[in-house]
Assembly symmetry: C2
Amino acid sequence: MIGVDWGTSSLRAWRFGPDGAARDMREAPRGIMTVPAGGFPALLSETIGDWLAAGELRVLLCGMVGSRQGWIEAPYLSCPAGAAEIARATVPVPFEGASVRLVPGLTARDAAGVPEVMRGEETKIIGLLPEIGPGEATVCLPGTHPKWIRLQGGRVAGFATAMTGEVFSALSQHTILGRMMDLKAPHAPAAFARGLARAKGRGGLLHHLFGTRTLALMGELTEAEGASYLSGLLIGHEVAAALEAGVAPPIHLTGSAALEPRYAEALAAFGIPFRIHAPDAAARGLWHIAQEIAWS
Amino acid sequence: MIGVDWGTSSLRAWRFGPDGAARDMREAPRGIMTVPAGGFPALLSETIGDWLAAGELRVLLCGMVGSRQGWIEAPYLSCPAGAAEIARATVPVPFEGASVRLVPGLTARDAAGVPEVMRGEETKIIGLLPEIGPGEATVCLPGTHPKWIRLQGGRVAGFATAMTGEVFSALSQHTILGRMMDLKAPHAPAAFARGLARAKGRGGLLHHLFGTRTLALMGELTEAEGASYLSGLLIGHEVAAALEAGVAPPIHLTGSAALEPRYAEALAAFGIPFRIHAPDAAARGLWHIAQEIAWS
């Protein structure tokens, strides 16, 4: 079968052998934002048409391709949900010459009744499950909108999203803090650690942010260090809040090459055991979900 | 004497009688950003020249006019500091025909050694002191960068600044949150209260922010309510952190007409007694500081 992780800005496709190993992989900068209305079937054929011609009959898609802005909307599935529930909720897509289905996103409510949504991450989580096992566990997926996921009995029990990455961008580009930092400077580990340490103390994030400015004003934080300090502050506050909300260690971590080491350092700074998983969890998840689908 | 609160975007001048009552007041949109290099003496003459011609000999200036971008820099004075210390640290400014002095800003360090600065607010605080009395007290000054000030024995013992107002602007104008809110909608009190209530719960600010989006996605927060909800979230987190850091109630509150009622509501939501003070605390502070100066 073929699995495709089709997100906002890019597309990755895998061709799997019967044992679930990826035999071939393709990547293209053809995220859903680049696809004209009605253009999804043609782009899929263009990307994996030769695999289909070679005899593949099943294609499973995950990511923003199943959103309102995508090919067809695959409605959010409520938690708790595991591979079996997700497989049953996949949505068929009309396509000539193959059976194509969309993985739904997940939704949940927290204790206060505030809703949560994910789309794409559910597939990564299913991909991690065989490595994590059936017990209670916490997964952290760093990103622009990082997610903290509670697993119970091999299913997603609930999850929480933070706006950390996007808040970093907005604060560093559109507030007074950005005037005293060089956003092109390389990562400064010592400044990042100072930000993390600050986040462990009292005073709150909104106050700690102002310290980025005052330290710079007093010559105690250089322009080259400012962005790393701010990153440490924000990731530190995210981790502190996740711990306060309750996690089951070790934290299972997988994410982008740029962010994963920062989250690993943050978890270590807070004394929380963690385990880093191999990349491409989405590929493994697509294959596992496909095994549970009653393909027509 | 004459007092002038000369900030970034505007200038306000008062002519005081010998009893400290303001006899006359003038306001101009001539903040320091509008003053060309070397143009401060001319602008002061233009604004209050007739008062000087009528016999006033002493002028005290506070605010950003004493910053590096202002007339002359009045270095930050370290806390603890009261009216007497501030008066001794005022900086004389060369001016033809009157004795002109600048009020210094204040600086402090918190328990972690992170610096704090204020410029202009110290004068407001001195203006509030006669109404507050000499005991331990907490002052809250809402604004773009709101400040929480600890008073002991009639002096500023320390203070903390939050970036609440500027963070609201950056998030509402430069993140995905802004796409689902009408920033021109009038204040929505029920949505503001929902944001405050959310801030009292667990999960952290970075997670609570994402709820602004998910509530809108699910149709549970309208575009007209979004900005008020976000405002409640941010002010609620600011107040929660200030309380966690320790305050001496009642909180003494004075600020802009737009923000003061929101902070009053937030303090009430957290069950903290507060007292609202009359506006123009800067005018009263300028007069009090002037009484302590050994004018030459």
